[in-house]
């Protein structure tokens, strides 16, 4: 056996798959390491060669490895059959175990060598000069070795054994490949299905490639742990490996017993029926001798073409692998069609746009697999059936074969999408959704989506015709597909050289495919023309008869000189040049062609040139008047503004700088008593010299005219704000920033290091008093008075902050004049679309929802959310400062909601299409509305200073407001579900923070802290301090800081108030806000004993601990010293339909640090107990808080059992 294994290994090492496999994996991981755009595993404080990064890289590559496994495993067993050597070999005295196991281990050893390209490529990559040494830890060969040998090799062994078993059983390379693909697809489906947090452990145990296991084990690991710790063989990993080694052993044993050296003989079934008999009787009347009279004309060629196309299509349809692919894909597709999760486990309505995206996502992989396999299969069909000599000697013209094969391929690809569309429509109908947009399906689901695949199919046919055999062709196509992904991230962005390249064409219900699709069609036209040329070459090089080397066939290209071909070629070239030229004109001349790297360089040079001016004293905007003309169909906005600047500093100002955003062109600008000293067009940077310096408190007028427009199309970053229906712009896109604009600098600290720039603080320090007079939204203005007149096309309405003063029509344009009655932050937006308006007047408040006509689903909930918010916040915080609330839908090109003064733009992608009819679903539209409403207080009343902790006062408090409004409506017990999502997001977020975690009061605009942790902390705070105390504190903050910028609020203002209001809880407040405190509470065992008086004695063993973490995640133990909820329930709080009637006991108990037992007496019989059962604390493992009662002693037998205790 060893001899055979060694022989097999030697054979494999010489064959291309080992060399090619090694090279691919070496290069992939090498480039992933040295590329600055690709990071696997590392990032933030986690080193790129940390054990975590090594493990992640190796395991990710191992998933790709599944693609190469069949090349080894199938080859090991099938080469004898392929070379018809099996007859001889199997009759030798070779024993079955020697043969089967020897071949397996030989091939597996070769596979291990090929895959070792990954760790070696990664290791060598770390020594490459352009890898940032800051991101590297010390080299530790053991980490590579352990990860490869202990994690990757066993995982490969499992996959290899399964694939080998399939090869042994099927004896077909194609089936083995397809089965491997099928396994991979199943794997992804499984990953997809088991996404919810409650399945994570199951997924970790079931993942044969241990990737999920690794993710699960390290989920909440801190940077320190990730940099130092390898995952060890215990817990989940051990269970997983035991399960899979068991399965593998079973599969190996099964395939061993099923294998036989004797191939089974196939017997055809004999059947003669009546019709057959009648047919046979006819035999004698059949005239002989007619050999047919061929007709040679166009009709013949056409008939031949139709016949061949139908034949190719049906050959593919009838092939088993195709059915397998389609079966798997449909499964994948249905999963995608059914799972339309938006957030917090909420599904969206099956609007056609989402369904089309699901089809694209679900079937894209199937199209690629079909394309690669069947282009090879179709092109080589005659040759592999050994029927080519007969076919090639037929008088059928070449074009019939070439074109019919490609048309068949295109038809097959399109039919896969048609199946997807049909399934999708069924899902819509089953869901009772009837607004089915057939045209969207046919356009975005079929034509636009499938055409690039057809172009790639032509490329594949071309490659196949050039290659010596189908496997080389397939290999080249796989490399091509990988390269398309790799080149894009390496900065090769030009769609003119990326075959079948494209530009993003996002979809929206409001705006359809917009104008994005036009540019994309030009690019598609260009590549279609190139493909026609490829098709012509393919036709000429078509190998008819004996396979001839390419250098012989090249002679056929002389046919290009013939007049017909020359004309056709000229037309094709004219089309290529024409479309390519037009694309070039749009992407390079109308728009500047800037790659991601170019943009970075621009940011660097902006900083180099102008950062020196960052600290110059500047006047601030105090009054804003803007006239805006929106031309949605021309994707153009003209702005004319006159603003008043005031010198709020104590110094004399002699020069005024201002930066206009890159999206705006400055048409005209003038400043009172100032002359333009310099204008840098590259950065829209203006410097005015003041003829007479501006004294403190002096005011000057600034007038400017700007133009925003999307010219033609760019290769990337086409404007999603200037669209036909749903224009959504704000002042940061057309109005200047007074002074040096810090937002123009590069922020990412890793990228900065590449350019040798010091890291930029994300936010000024909390202690930096110089920033207390600056708000965190923008530092060049405080509260401003605002009025605006805006026009748009007659069919649309446009809404801006303020109250509508006047509305009129002039020609084909509609005008609106808005004015705000009190100062607002210098932050305002315009939305123009064909809106439906739902209006409700309620207690002197005008509530309006401007929405896309069909999106009526959640409008009522939003209005209710507004009412409940205003009612609650008026009472809890302070009166609402406006007389109206307007919610405005905008296209799903962006998915967020944002609070402007009395105006809430709200993406169609989140709340408007959420389906919250499911039982126990989190009411997302209501929640988002409440959150944005809360911003009218926490942002638009109290604004925070531009320091650390600023977003705590804005986002965290908005989350708090929204939670309370939700709690009022849905009850305390429903909040648990929401908080669990929040806690999980926080714990995962802290592990991946690029710059390290900070305590809540010093949050630097870190979303996982100010939203996620903030929700949990504020809810717990309310729970410990009492709602009244917290709300009273917030009212005090409003009294102290509302509508003021001298100074703005800082987080310690609020914390000081909390401490004053709740002196007994100072330590807790510090733990929550000023430290990174991680609790870990859990119930380990519970017993219930029924007592003689009919009550129940409950004992719960609990384990509690508390640690403080630093920015990197280093932990120090602390004493657990806060009381914590102990709950006793008759139903699990995690179950749907859980309500307050299921709560038997829920109270705070003082619990000692470490393990202890809590005993209490309750009236009803419990089934579940828990410590912190509603997940109020920041708990590292929130899954062990609840526990089903372990042992119950009931009264009937209590005598006996009590004694036995």
């Amino acid at each position: 056996m060893l001899r055979i294994a060694a022989q097999e290994l030697r054979y494999m090492l010489k064959s291309p798959q080992t060399v090619v496999g090694f090279s691919i994996f070496f290069l992939l991981s090498f480039f992933a390491m040295i590329s600055t755009n690709v990071t696997i595993g590392g990032g933030g404080n986690v080193d790129v060669n940390s054990p975590y990064a090594i493990t992640q890289t190796l395991l990710v590559m191992n998933v790709f490895g599944v693609f190469v496994v069949p090349a080894f495993m199938a080859n090991a067993i099938l080469k004898d059959v392929d070379h018809k050597f099996d007859g001889i070999l199997f009759s030798t005295p070779l024993s079955k175990p020697d043969y089967l196991l020897g071949r397996f281990f030989g091939a597996f050893a070769a596979l291990v060598i090929a895959m070792s390209g990954t760790p070696i490529g990664m290791l060598i990559g770390t020594f490459w000069p352009n890898v940032d040494p800051e991101t590297l830890g010390p080299t530790n060969l053991w980490h590579y070795f352990y990860t490869y040998v202990a994690l990757v090799v066993p995982a490969m062994l499992v996959v290899s054994a399964i694939v080998y078993a399939i090869a042994v059983k099927s004896r077909s390379l194609m089936y083995t490949y397809l089965a491997a693909m099928g396994l991979l697809i199943l794997y992804f489906i499984g990953q997809n299905l088991l996404q919810a947090p409650e399945y994570r452990e199951m997924k970790a145990m079931a993942d044969p490639l241990v990737f999920s296991t690794f993710i699960e084990i390290t989920r909440y690991w801190t940077a320190v742990e990730r940099n130092s710790t390898l995952i060890s063989y215990d817990g989940l990993l051990l269970i997983n490996r035991m399960i899979w080694f068991g399965i593998t052993a079973a599969i190996v044993a099964a395939s061993y017993f099923m294998f036989s050296f004797r191939a089974p003989a196939k017997l055809a079934k004999e059947r003669v029926n009546k019709k057959e008999a009648a047919d046979l009787a006819r035999k004698d009347q059949i005239p002989l001798g007619n050999k047919g009279t061929p007709a040679w004309n166009k009709a013949t060629s056409w008939a031949q073409f139709k016949l061949r196309t139908g034949f190719e299509v049906s050959s593919v349809y009838k092939s088993l692998p195709f059915m397998i692919i389609i079966g798997f894909s449909l499964f994948l597709l249905l999963t995608a069609l059914i799972n339309r999760t938006l957030a917090y486990g909420i599904e969206a309505y099956p609007v056609t746009r989402l369904m089309v995206q699901a089809i694209q996502g679900g079937l894209g992989l199937a199209l690629i697999v079909v394309l690669i396999f069947y282009s090879a299969d179709i092109i080589w069909r005659e040759r592999s059936a050994k029927f080519n000599e007969i076919i090639d000697a037929l008088p059928t013209p070449n074009w019939v074969f070439v074109v019919s094969k490609l048309v068949a391929l295109a038809f097959i690809l399109a039919s896969i999408m048609m199946i997807g569309i049909a399934s999708s429509i069924i899902v819509q109908l089953v869901n009772g959704y009837s607004a089915i947009e057939i045209s969207t399906y046919l356009h975005r689901g079929l034509f636009h989506f499938v055409t690039p695949f057809i172009l790639v199919a032509i490329l594949s046919a071309f490659v196949q015709v050039l290659s010596k055999n189908r496997f080389i062709g397939m290999m080249i196509m796989v490399l091509y597909l990988i390269s398309t992904q790799v080149l894009q991230v390496l900065g090769f962005e030009n769609p003119l050289y990326r075959f079948a390249g494209n530009i993003p064409t996002p979809m929206s219900d409001m705006n359809g495919s917009g104008r994005f699709i036009v540019g994309d069609y030009w690019i598609m036209g260009y590549w279609a023309a190139v493909s026609v040329f490829l098709l012509m070459v393919t036709y000429l090089l078509w190998n008819r008869g004996t396979l001839q080397p390419l250098k012989y066939r090249i002679r056929h290209l002389r046919a290009f000189l013939s007049p017909g071909m020359a004309t056709a070629t000229a037309i094709v070239f004219a089309t290529v040049v024409g479309t390519g030229g037009f694309v070039y004109y749009n992407t390079h001349i109308l728009n500047e062609f800037l790659t991601t790297d170019d943009l970075e360089e621009l940011q660097v040079s902006y900083e180099e040139k102008y950062r020196q001016f960052a600290d110059l004293p500047m006047p601030r905007t105090i009054d804003v008047k803007v006239d805006i003309d929106i031309y949605p169909y021309r994707r153009r906005v003209e702005a004319r503004s006159s603003q008043i600047l005031e010198n709020k500093t104590d110094a004399e100002i002699t020069t005024v700088h201002m930066v206009f955003p890159p999206t705006a062109e400055v048409v005209d600008i003038s400043m009172e008593g100032a002359s333009l000293a310099s204008f840098d067009e590259r950065f829209n940077y203006h410097i005015f010299d003041l003829d007479v310096p501006m004294q403190p408190s002096e005011k000057r007028a600034l007038k400017f005219e700007t133009l925003m427009q999307q010219r033609g199309f760019a290769h990337a970053r086409n404007s999603v704000t200037l669209v036909r229906n749903g224009t959504f712009i704000n002042n940061t896109e057309f109005a200047p920033y007074i002074g040096f604009w810090p937002g123009g600098m590069m922020a990412d600290r890793n990228t900065r290091r590449e350019y040798d720039l010091e890291p930029l603080p994300r936010t000024p320090k909390l202690e930096d008093a110089s920033q207390y007079g600056n708000n965190y939204i923008r530092q060049d203005s405080d509260f401003v008075s605002f009025e605006t007149t805006v026009s748009t096309v007659a069919s649309q309405r446009v809404v801006a902050p303020g109250y509508l003063e006047r509305e009129w029509t002039e020609g084909d344009r509609r005008y609106f004049s808005y004015k705000m009655d009190a100062p607002i932050l210098n932050f305002y937006s315009y939305l123009s679309a064909e809106y439906e308006v739902v209006r409700e007047e309620w207690n002197d408040l005008l509530i309006e929802v401007f929405h896309h006509k069909p999106h009526t689903y959640n409008v009522g909930r939003m209005i209710e959310g507004v009412k409940d918010s205003v009612t609650y916040f008026n009472k809890a915080f302070s009166p609402y400062q406006h007389r109206q609330v307007r919610i405005l839908e905008f296209p799903a090109y962006r998915t967020f909601a944002q609070a402007f003064p009395n105006t809430i733009p709200y993406s169609e992608g989140i709340g408007f299409i959420a389906d919250i009819s499911g039982e126990g679903a989190v009411d997302m539209p209501y929640y988002v509305t409440a959150h944005e409403m809360a911003h009218q207080w926490w942002a638009h009343q109290v604004m925070s200073a531009n320091t650390q902790g600023g977003t705590m006062l804005v986002e965290t408090l908005a989350q708090y407001g929204a939670l309370l409004v939700m709690e009022q409506k849905y009850g305390k017990d429903q909040i648990r579900k929401f908080l669990k999502f929040e806690l999980d997001s926080y714990l995962s977020g802290r592990a991946t923070d690029p710059e390290g975690e900070l305590p809540l009061y010093k949050v630097e605009n870190q979303q996982y802290i100010h939203y996620r942790k903030g929700s949990v902390i504020m809810y717990a705070l309310k729970d410990y301090l009492g709602e009244d105390v917290v709300n009273r504190s917030l009212r005090r903050l409003i009294e102290m800081r509302a509508f003021r910028g001298d100074p703005y609020a800082i987080s310690t203002d609020l914390i000081t108030i909390f401490k004053e209001e709740a002196p007994e809880n100072v330590r807790l407040i510090e733990d929550f806000f000023e430290k990174i405190t991680i609790f870990d509470v859990g119930a380990t065992e519970s017993r219930v004993q029924e007592l003689a008086d009919g009550t129940f004695k409950v004992s719960i063993d609990v384990d509690v601990s508390k640690v403080y973490a630093d920015a990197e995640g280093n932990e120090t133990d602390a004493m657990f010293d806060i009381p914590v909820d102990i709950g006793v329930f008759s139903k699990s709080p995690a179950e749907a339909g859980f309500g307050s009637s299921d709560v038997i006991h829920l109270q705070k108990h003082q619990v000692n640090d470490g393990t202890s037992t809590i005993e209490l007496i309750v009236k009803n019989r419990p089934t579940f107990v828990g410590i912190d059962p509603y997940n109020k604390l920041i708990d590292r493992n929130s899954n062990d808080n609840l526990r089903a009662v372990d042992t119950v002693d009931i009264l009937a037998s209590n005598e006996a059992s009590n004694q036995s205790r």
Binding site: L280, I286, K291, Q304, F311, R381, K386, E389
Partner: protein, 299 residues
């Protein structure tokens, strides 16, 4: 009818498959005999437009085969030496398919053609069976049926009887014989009897060269009086090979029978033998081997 002039073909790896082959093939059956590897299939493929020769010309009637392959394909019926079939589909379906590709687009006519050929090749009963389940003989008959579609003027059958049992072989010969004398039929084979049974004209190809051509009768007559046979024991064979021009030897009832080509009776127990086509074949091959080794020696 078919004239081949100075055809030479060298494979990319340097192997010279055809060396300056020239042949004139009239209407009727033409046998091309040659041992395995003689270049028969290369020649057949070249005539069937499946392979471009390095140099030389082929003319069929007024058609330049190499320059206008599509024209010759319209009058060509080709049965390759070794062919497979599509994994799905019955004989009827595939013949029907091929008939369209051969330009028989009228469906009524096509049905008649296909059924006629199925009857003629005795495949009518099994026409609905999957071709992939056919036996070797059935498959060869299917092969000839497809070659006959469209009434070709040039029919090339490459090693059609290899591997067939005697009954199938006879059946196949009958089929070929029926094709008639109005068209050119080239039958390439290494089995002498195939040619002897069927072909009025023939040529022998060895080492890529035509070493002999004519009618079987002429070729046999040319050898008349120079074939001698002797029964020897197995041990004597090497001595006889050394001293005589032994063209063939075979075993008969445990003893070795050798044939010698010599102008006069070599004596020593040799007796005259009436030349058969087999003798023609073997002596031609023996001659060409001698020439080759002589050339090699000279070199």
């Amino acid at each position: 009818m078919l004239s081949i002039n100075n055809l030479t073909h060298t494979y990319p790896n340097g192997v010279q498959a055809l060396k300056n082959v020239s042949l004139d093939i009239p209407k009727g059956m033409f046998g091309l005999l040659g041992p395995n590897g003689a270049g028969k299939s290369s020649l057949m493929r070249t005539i069937a437009t499946l392979q471009q020769p390095t140099s030389g010309t082929i003319q069929f009637g007024n058609v330049d085969v190499l320059k206008n392959p599509d024209d010759i394909r319209r009058t060509l019926g080709y049965l390759p030496q070794d062919f497979g079939v599509y994994p799905r589909g019955s004989a009827y379906e595939l013949l029907d398919h091929l008939a369209v590709l051969k330009g028989v687009t009228n469906s009524k006519e096509r049905k008649e053609v296909v059924e006629g050929l199925l009857v003629q090749t005795n495949l009518f009963e099994v026409r609905k069976k999957k071709l992939s389940t056919y036996s070797g003989g059935m498959r060869q008959r299917f092969g000839i049926a497809q070659a006959l579609i469209g009434d070709p003027q040039l029919i090339i059958v490459d090693e059609p009887t290899a591997g067939l049992d005697p009954e199938e072989r006879n059946r196949f010969h009958n089929l070929l014989a029926e094709i008639g004398e109005e068209v050119v039929v080239i039958l390439s084979t290494h089995i002498v009897d195939d040619v002897a049974d069927l072909c009025p004209n023939m040529a022998i190809l060895a080492g890529g060269q035509i070493i002999s051509k004519g009618t079987p009768a002429e070729l046999m007559a040319a050898l008349s009086g120079s074939i001698w046979k002797k029964v020897i024991s197995k041990t004597e064979l090497d001595d006889h090979k050394a001293s005589h021009n032994v063209i063939s030897s075979h075993l008969s009832v445990g003893q070795t029978v050798i044939y010698v080509n010599a102008a006069e009776n070599p004596g020593e127990g040799f007796e005259a033998s009436e030349p058969t086509l087999e003798d023609v074949y073997f002596s031609a091959i023996a001659d060409s081997r001698a020439t080759v080794s002589a050339t090699a020696d000279a070199a």
